[in-house]
């Protein structure tokens, strides 16, 4: 059997095992283990274990549990309640104003958190009941929360960009800065969509009644604005220290986690029970991610051993005679299709090593490509059958929101993400301007 055929067999084997509903890490690790033994006999038996050693040596991965901890602490700190009250009184008067406020809330939460889990937890527990209670359409509500929370991986700090940076060997600082403007662009497009949709169909997002708004004195409105300073301060502390080179990437994650704990303490919510609850969720989520990465690395090592990188390169550059941009579009399309079925972390660890050399060879900027990849991941989070946000939403949403609602609600937002992908694809400057500005001074 040719190496290409074996590679294809492995990939389809993995997909098949995933469909059985076995844990993702076990399905991937199993195919990798069987393949190493079949291909290289007992000589290959240490490959899966060595993947765990690789995880150990990827120092930047230490940020992962710290960002998870930070997210859970902030979600329970009471900070999010204050932020929600702020956006509530400031934008509630508009048609669809609470949905717009939720998007602003998600941007702020994304700036202090590296994954989408915390944003979704905050959205589902605070914004969702408030909006449903005020007669917002449930599809609008769930769509906004799910889409908004994915901004967590595009706006720094971002764990996905840390992973990408390790695989592509690109500086995380550049990647993080490159994510800011595309993230804000996407958030703006979300806001425009909500505005337009609620103007055409006012029943989807009724404005707060005038008497409810009049009941809040101007002074109090201004006081509420102070809540917005907290995330900005944490962001400035964490990202500022890192970009200035005072703390390393991993240390800045620890600074962020500490800041989250301090804020919680100031709000008087720092109890031993709360700490233990956060720590337990952190261990659970970290184990899930790190085991998927470990299994995917073993799978990737087998792929690498088969010479899959060279095969893809030969095939795409040598045989298909495509323009560089056509290759780029094909790569993104394949990510989008894979992303509906596959966990994005596994996708990154297995597929990115095949694509990144190609990106370089074709003369594209790997920093810019990291942003494109992250937007694709955001879409993957939302597209059924496999999407993290779909899982989480299902677990957290109240029973009146059915699974079909959750699936249907994401459609317009996925379309907006595709538009953002296209815009950033056509105008790389949106991503590259900020890192160049900061790092060339």
């Amino acid at each position: 059997m040719s190496h290409e055929a074996i590679a294809l067999l492995l990939f389809s084997g993995m997909m098949l095992m995933l469909l059985t509903g076995q844990r993702v890490f076990a399905a991937i690790g199993f195919v990798a283990s069987v393949a190493t033994l079949a291909l290289w006999g007992t000589g290959g038996v240490e490959i899966p274990f060595n993947a765990a050693i690789t995880v150990m040596n990827w120092y930047a991965l230490v940020t992962l549990p710290l960002f998870v901890l930070m997210g859970y602490v902030l979600a329970g700190s009471g900070l999010a309640d204050d932020l929600y009250r702020m956006v509530h009184v400031w934008s509630g008067g508009l048609r669809g104003g609470l949905a717009i406020g939720t998007i602003v809330l998600m941007v702020l939460v994304s700036a202090i958190n590296g994954l989408s889990v915390a944003g979704l937890a905050i959205g589902a527990t605070i914004a969702l009941p408030a909006m449903l209670q005020r007669g917002y359409d449930k599809l609008m509500v769930t769509g906004v929360i799910q889409a908004g929370s994915t901004l967590g991986i595009l706006i720094p700090p971002s764990v996905v960009l840390v992973l990408y940076g390790m695989i592509a060997r690109q500086p995380v600082g550049h990647l993080w800065l490159a994510g800011i403007l595309p993230g804000l662009l996407m958030a703006t497009l979300f806001v425009l969509y909500v505005l337009l949709r609620c103007r055409l169909q006012p029943h989807l997002g009724p404005p707060l009644p005038a008497e409810e708004r009049a009941a809040i004195p101007r002074r109090e409105k201004l006081v509420l604005l102070r809540a917005g300073l907290w995330p900005l301060a944490i962001f400035a502390l964490m990202i500022g220290l890192f970009v200035k080179g005072v703390t390393s990437l991993v240390e800045s994650a620890a600074v962020g986690a500490l800041a989250a704990l301090v804020v919680t303490g100031l709000k008087g919510r720092l109890t031993l029970a709360f700490l233990e609850d956060c720590a337990r969720k952190t261990l659970a989520v970290s184990c899930m991610f790190l085991w998927i990465i470990t299994a995917a690395l073993a799978f990737g090592a087998v792929f690498d051993g088969l010479g899959a990188v060279k095969a893809v390169e030969r095939f795409v550059i040598g045989q298909m005679h495509l323009e560089p941009w056509q290759v780029l579009v094909l790569m993104q399309l394949s990510f989008l299709i894979l992303g509906t079925f596959l966990d994005d972390t596994a996708m990154l660890v297995i597929v990115a090593p095949l694509y990144i050399p190609l990106v370089r060879k074709l003369g594209f900027d790997p920093i810019w490509y990291g942003v494109l990849y992250t937007i694709t991941c955001q879409i993957a989070y939302l597209t059924p059958p496999f999407g993290y946000n779909l899982f989480l939403m299902r677990a957290m949403a109240p029973p009146e929101i059915r699974l079909t609602d959750i699936y249907r609600s994401v459609a317009p937002f996925v379309a907006i993400m595709l538009v953002t992908l296209l815009i950033v694809g056509l105008f790389p400057q949106i991503a590259l301007w900020l890192p160049r500005l900061v790092y060339t001074r």
Partner: protein, 175 residues
């Protein structure tokens, strides 16, 4: 269910739960270590040579020793497009077959880990760094984690089997 299997379930699940309960706190240890390292380097001008490697060791111990607990806590995602529709018995049936995936993967990890640890012990393998820590201790911790995980995977298999056979299963401990 046969008393020996019942005892196995109770012992393995109690041990993994206890390990997890202690291990969850180590995230604060990791945080403290990194904060200390950054203060020592910037404010005290006395950089620690061992902080990076120690943080790496902590991370790998965190998710390997926590592996058994994470299985107990059912923390791992599945692609549940079909699985979610199969109902309790159907899922137990599917899982009792695909448990093979988990068992084979973990067994291969364990065999590899034992080999790698044996090498580290025989040749006093060390990191090429200023601190140059021996690698055998962390590898032994990793192997212990894998053993705990494999034991928990067998416990999960027994529970699925029990569900299919209609055994009376002991209440699992709250993770």
């Amino acid at each position: 269910m046969p008393p020996a299997l019942r005892r196995y379930l109770v012992v393995v699940e109690t041990v993994n739960r206890a390990v997890g309960r202690v291990l969850v706190w180590s995230i604060f240890l990791l945080m403290g270590l990194l904060l200390w390292a950054s203060i020592a380097r910037t404010a005290l001008d006395a950089p620690l040579v061992w902080s990076v490697e120690l943080a790496q060791f902590l991370l790998v111990a965190y998710f390997l020793l926590g592996g058994g607990w994470s299985l107990l806590a059912d923390a791992h995602v599945r692609m549940d497009l079909l699985w979610a529709r199969w109902g309790g018995r159907g899922r137990a049936f599917a899982d009792s077959i695909t448990a093979l995936c988990l068992l084979v993967y973990l067994a291969v990890m364990l065999v590899g880990g034992v080999g790698s640890t044996h090498y580290a012990l025989s040749f006093d393998q060390r990191n090429y760094s200023a601190w140059a820590p021996p690698l055998a201790p962390i590898k032994i911790v990793m192997v212990v984690g894998l053993v705990l995980m494999l034991l928990q995977a067998i416990a999960i298999f027994l529970r699925d089997l029990g569900r299919l056979r209609g055994w009376r299963l002991p209440e699992p401990p709250a993770p």
